[in-house]
Amino acid sequence: MPVLQLSGVNKVFSVGRFPTVRHLRVLNAVSLEIAEREVLGLVGESGSGKSTLAGVISRLSLHDAGEVRLEGALVPKRLSRRQELAYRRRVQLVFQDPYASLNPAKSIHHAVARPMAIHHLPDTSADLLESCGLSPAARYLQRRPFELSGGERQRAAIARALSVRPRLLLADEPTSMLDVSIRLDVMNLLADLREREGLSLLFITHDLAAARYLSDRVAVMYAGHLVEIGPAREVVERPLHPYTQLLRQAAPKPEQGLEAEHLAVAGEVPDLANLPPGCPFAPRCPKAQPTCREALPGFVQVAAGHQVRCVLYS
C-alpha cells in the first residue's frame, strides 16, 4: 500500500481584493502516489506549484478539491486536534531555507526536543543529532542557529522533522540554499535515512541532476499540472514531454563538453489566473499541434511506470 496517494488535487489561491480578485489555479488535478521507502523527485520551476503541493500534503494549507490518502485512509479536510497531531506524527516537512526555518532565539535542543515533548516521546535529541551528522551532539544541543553553518543548520532542521519519527518526509528544495560542496552530503543523509528508517521521501527540486541522483521516480510539474512521471533515469536521461526536454536542455552540463545547446524557446510561464484551455505548455511548445490548444491531454502510459501528459505519444 502506498504511503501517500493524491487523486485529482486542486488548489486555488485568491489574491487581491474585491473587485480585482484573481483566482490562481496553483494545482490542477494532481494525482500521484509515493510508495513505502520510495524517493519521489518532484521537479519544476518557480510557480509550477511544487511547494504548494508540499504545503497541501503537510496540511499547512488545505486543498480545494480531490483526495489525500495517507496509508490508504482518506484524510478529511477537518481534523480534530488528536487527529491533527496523529497526522503530524506521520508527515513532516523540511524547508528550503535553513536560515529561516530555525527559530533564531531558541537552541537546537529546543528545535529537536520540543516536538518529542508535544508527542509524548522520550527525549532522544542527542542520538538524533548524531544520526543526522551533527556529532558530537553535545557540542550542538545548546547552540543557537546563528552559531551553525548553513549545512549544519539544514541537518538540524532535518533532525527536527525526524524527531517525531514520521513515515513520510517532504523535503522542499532542501539543498538549494546550501553551498555546492555540501549539497551532496545532505542528499546522502536523506538517502541514508530512507535506508535506515524506512522513510518515504518527496524530494522537491528545480535541479534535474539532483533529482536523478536521489530519486527512484521523478515527477515533473508545469504551471500546476503534472506533465511527466516515471523512473528517475528514464525521465531525466530520455525525457519525453517537451517541457522536460526543455528543462534538460537548459541545465548546465559541463560534462558534455563546452558547446552548449542553443535554446530556442520564447514566452513565459502562463498566468495561473488565466490558464490556456489546452495543455499549459502549448503556447511555448516547439512541437505544439492545434489539438494541444483545445483540451488538456490525458496521461499516456509509454513504458512501465512512465506516463506523459502529451498528445505526441497517444
Binding site: E45, L60, E84, L85, R88, R89, Q92, L93, F95, A100, S101, L102, N103, A105, K106, R114, P115, I118, H119, S149, G150, E152, A157, R160, A161, S163, V164, D179, V180, S181, I182, R183, L184, D185, N188, A191, A209, A210, R212, Y213, R233, V236, E237, L246, L247, R248, Q249, A250, A251, P252, K253, P254, E255, Q256, L258, A260, H262, L263, V265, E268
Partner: protein, 622 residues
C-alpha cells in the same frame, strides 16, 4: 538584549536612570524635610538649609524634587507596563490569530490611533476625584497603547509567515505556545523599545496634565510642582529654580530613556553602531598588468564591526583582458561579492577596502574620491548584480530609467532611447515594454532590462555578480545566451561571479576559483574543468551530480570554510582537504604559482617540493 546594553548610549542612559531610581528609593533618607512641610519662610533663596530654596507656601523645593522622583517614575513605569501589555495583547494576539479576530482588533487599534489623545485625557481626567495616581496612569495607558500595538502587529504578521513558525505548527505546537515561546522571544527588543517609548509618553503626558491642574494636584510629582510654581507666579517672584528643577528633571529622565532606546536601535541597525568611521583611502599596490583592461592588485577588503575589522578578501590579484570573459566561482563567504564591490569602489560602510588597487584602463579607481570615480562608472565599467532587478524603481517606467542614465552621463535622450530599443529587441523584449513599470515585468525580463541599461553607454567592461541566481533554469540559460552575444558581438569584457561553477565552464575564457578570500586556482576554463589541480577545485567539480552515466554515491567536501574573522596560519582549505600535508599546509600560506601555461594554483602539492614529502597524498590528489 545583552548586546543592546553594551552600547555606550544605553549605558549612559542606564546610569542616569539608575541615579533617579536610587533617589526615588532613598527619598526618605535623601530629602531633608517632608515635601508637604510648609513651615519654612516662603520664597527663600537657595542656601545650605534649602539647597534649591523654598516655595511660596514655604515648602523645601529640594525635598519636593526628591519625593517627586518617586511619583514621576511610578507613572512612567506603570504607564509603560500597562500600555505595552495592551499593545502586546492586541498587536501580537491579532497579528498571530489573523482572520476576524485580527480585523476587529486592528479596527480598534486604528480607532485609538486617530482619537485625539490629549483632549480625551483632559476630559476624562477632569472627572477623577480620587487621590491615587492610578486613574491618570490608566487613562494615559489606555490612550497610548495603539501605536505599539500597530508596530507589534506588523512584526507579528511578518514573523507568522516565517518558516520556523510554520515548522512549529507542523510539529503540532498549539497557537498559544507558538505565540509565547516562538514569536515573543524574537520581539523582545521591540517590546522593550515599546515599553520605554510608552514610559516617556506617560511621564510627559502626566506632567502636562498635572501642569494644567488635572489629576490630584496635592500629590507630589514633578508635574504638580510645575503646576504650583505656575499658579503661584514663581517666575514673577524670582523663584526660577522652582520651575527649572522639576523641568530639568523631566527632561533628564526623558533623555535617559531615549538613550536606552537608541541603544536598542543600534542593535537592530548596525550602521548606527559606533566604530564605523570613514577609512583613509586604501594603500595602493602593484602596477597595472600589461594588456589588461581591469587589473586588480592585492585587494584586501572586509567589514568594520563592533568586534573589530573582518577580512573577507585576503589579497586578490586578477586581470581581465579586453573582450575576455573571466568567471569567478566560489561559495558563500569566500569574498567574491565583496571583491566585486571593492573592485569598482562600490563598497559602502561598514565595508571597506584596506589595501590594493583596481586599475581600469590604467586608472586606479580606489585612489579616486567618489566624485572623481563617478564618470568612470557605467560609462567605462557597468555592473549587474543579483539584486539589480529588484533595484529598478517601481514607480517609474523603463523609459525613465533609460533617460535618467543618459542624463547622468550626457547622452542625448533620442539616442539613448534608440539604443535602448535596439538592445531590448536584441534581448527579445518587445519595444512597448519601454513604457512598462518594473512590477509589470517578470524576473527574467527585469534582469534583461538591467542588462540593457548596463550596455547603454557602451562600456568596455561589465561586472556581474550572480545575475542569474534568483532565476529559473530556462530563463537563466536564455540570459546566458544573451550574455554570450554581448561578449561576441559587442566585444565587452565580462567578469562573472557565481557560486555555480557548472554555469561558467561553457562560457568562460578563464576561471578563477576563490576560497576563504583568496584565489586558489586560475586558468583557462577547459583546462580547469579537465585538469583541476587544487583539491578544493577538484572537490567542487565532483560536487555536481551528473545528468548521465551510472548512478553512484558521490561525496561533497566535508566541513565548512573558515569564518571571516579567523586568522589563518596556513592554507585556508587545510581543515577540509583530503590531500593535506600535516606540518606543511598548516604552517605556510601557499603562494599562487604557475603550473604550465596560464594555469596557476596556490597549493603546497605543486610548485616547490615541500620540506616533508608525502608522495601518496600527492598521487591521490592528482
Amino acid at each position: 538584549m545583552k548586546a543592546a546594553l553594551r552600547s555606550r548610549w544605553a549605558q549612559a542612559g542606564l546610569v542616569i536612570l539608575a541615579i533617579f531610581v536610587l533617589v526615588a528609593a532613598l527619598a526618605p533618607v535623601i530629602a531633608p524635610y517632608s515635601p508637604t512641610n510648609s513651615s519654612f519662610s516662603p520664597l527663600a533663596s537657595p542656601s545650605l538649609r534649602h539647597l534649591l530654596g523654598t516655595t511660596q507656601l514655604g515648602q523645601d523645593i529640594f525635598s519636593q524634587l526628591v519625593w517627586g522622583t518617586r511619583g514621576t517614575l511610578e507613572i512612567g513605569f506603570l504607564t509603560g507596563l500597562f500600555a505595552t501589555a495592551l499593545g502586546v495583547l492586541v498587536g501580537i494576539g491579532g497579528g498571530y490569530l489573523g482572520g476576524p479576530t485580527d480585523s476587529v482588533l486592528n479596527a480598534l487599534t486604528n480607532v485609538f490611533l486617530v482619537i485625539p489623545g490629549l483632549p480625551l485625557i483632559i476630559i476624562t481626567a477632569a472627572y477623577i476625584t480620587t487621590k491615587s495616581q492610578l486613574p491618570i496612569i490608566l487613562i494615559i495607558s489606555f490612550t497610548g497603547w495603539a501605536w505599539g500595538a500597530r508596530v507589534l502587529r506588523s512584526q507579528t504578521l511578518s514573523l507568522r509567515q516565517r518558516e520556523f513558525i510554520l515548522a512549529a505548527r507542523l510539529v503540532g505546537e498549539s497557537p498559544l505556545r507558538i505565540v509565547v515561546s516562538e514569536v515573543l522571544p524574537n520581539m523582545l527588543s521591540l517590546i522593550a523599545a515599546n515599553f520605554i517609548g510608552a514610559a516617556i509618553y506617560g511621564i510627559l503626558s502626566a506632567a502636562g496634565l498635572q501642569f494644567i491642574g488635572l489629576g490630584n494636584v496635592n500629590a507630589v510629582t514633578w508635574g504638580t510642582m510645575l503646576f504650583w510654581a505656575q499658579s503661584q507666579g514663581a517666575l514673577l517672584s524670582g523663584a526660577w529654580l522652582w520651575i527649572l528643577a522639576p523641568g530639568a528633571a523631566i527632561a533628564l529622565v526623558g533623555t535617559a530613556l531615549g538613550m536606552l532606546n537608541f541603544g536598542i536601535d543600534e542593535l537592530t541597525n548596525p550602521r548606527l553602531r559606533a566604530g564605523v568611521k570613514k577609512l583613509p583611502k586604501p594603500v595602493p599596490a602593484g602596477t597595472p598588468e600589461v594588456g589588461a583592461l581591469l587589473s586588480l592588485q592585492e585587494i584586501e577588503a572586509g567589514y568594520q564591526t563592533a568586534a573589530g575589522p573582518l577580512t573577507a578578501v585576503r589579497g586578490v590579484s586578477l586581470a581581465v583582458k579586453p573582450g575576455e570573459f573571466l568567471g569567478i566561482a566560489g561559495e558563500s563567504g569566500c569574498g567574491k561579492s565583496t571583491l566585486a564591490f571593492a573592485a569598482l569602489g562600490l563598497l559602502r560602510p561598514p565595508g571597506a577596502v584596506y589595501r590594493g588597487s583596481s586599475y581600469l584602463a590604467g586608472v586606479d579607481l580606489l585612489a579616486l574620491t567618489p566624485a572623481q570615480r563617478r564618470p568612470y562608472l557605467w560609462r567605462d565599467a557597468s555592473f549587474v548584480f543579483q539584486a539589480s532587478m529588484n533595484a529598478l524603481n517601481p514607480v517609474i517606467r523603463v523609459r525613465d530609467h533609460v533617460l535618467d542614465t543618459a542624463r547622468a552621463h550626457g547622452l542625448p535622450p533620442a539616442e539613448a532611447i534608440e539604443r535602448a530599443t535596439a538592445l531590448l529587441q536584441q534581448f527579445e523584449i518587445p519595444a512597448h515594454f519601454l513604457d512598462a513599470y518594473s512590477f509589470q515585468l517578470s524576473g527574467g525580463m527585469k534582469q534583461r532590462v538591467v542588462l540593457a541599461l548596463s550596455l547603454l553607454l557602451r562600456p568596455k567592461l561589465i561586472l556581474m555578480d550572480e545575475p542569474t541566481t534568483a532565476l529559473d533554469v530556462v530563463v537563466q540559460r536564455l540570459i546566458m545566451q544573451q550574455i554570450e552575444w554581448i561578449l561576441g558581438e559587442l566585444g565587452v569584457s565580462i567578469v562573472f561571479i557565481t557560486h555555480d561553477f557548472s554555469l561558467l565552464v561553457e562560457i568562460s575564457d578563464r576561471i578563477a576559483i576563490m576560497y576563504a578570500g583568496t584565489v586558489v586556482e586560475q586558468g583557462p576554463a577547459a583546462e580547469i574543468y579537465a585538469h583541476p589541480l587544487h583539491p578544493y577545485t577538484q572537490g567542487l567539480i565532483r560536487s555536481f551530480p551528473p545528468m548521465s552515466g551510472e548512478r553512484q554515491v558521490l561525496h561533497g567536501i566535508p566541513g565548512h570554510p573558515p569564518g571571516l574573522g579567523e586568522k589563518l596560519s596556513g592554507c585556508p582549505f587545510f581543515a577540509r582537504c583530503s590531500a593535506r600535508l600535516e606540518g606543511v599546509c598548516d604552517q605556510a600560506v601557499p603562494a599562487l604559482l604557475a603550473q604550465g601555461d596560464q594555469h596557476t594554483v596556490a597549493c603546497h602539492l605543486y610548485g616547490q617540493p615541500p620540506p616533508v614529502a608525502a608522495p601518496t597524498a600527492v598521487g591521490e590528489a592528482r
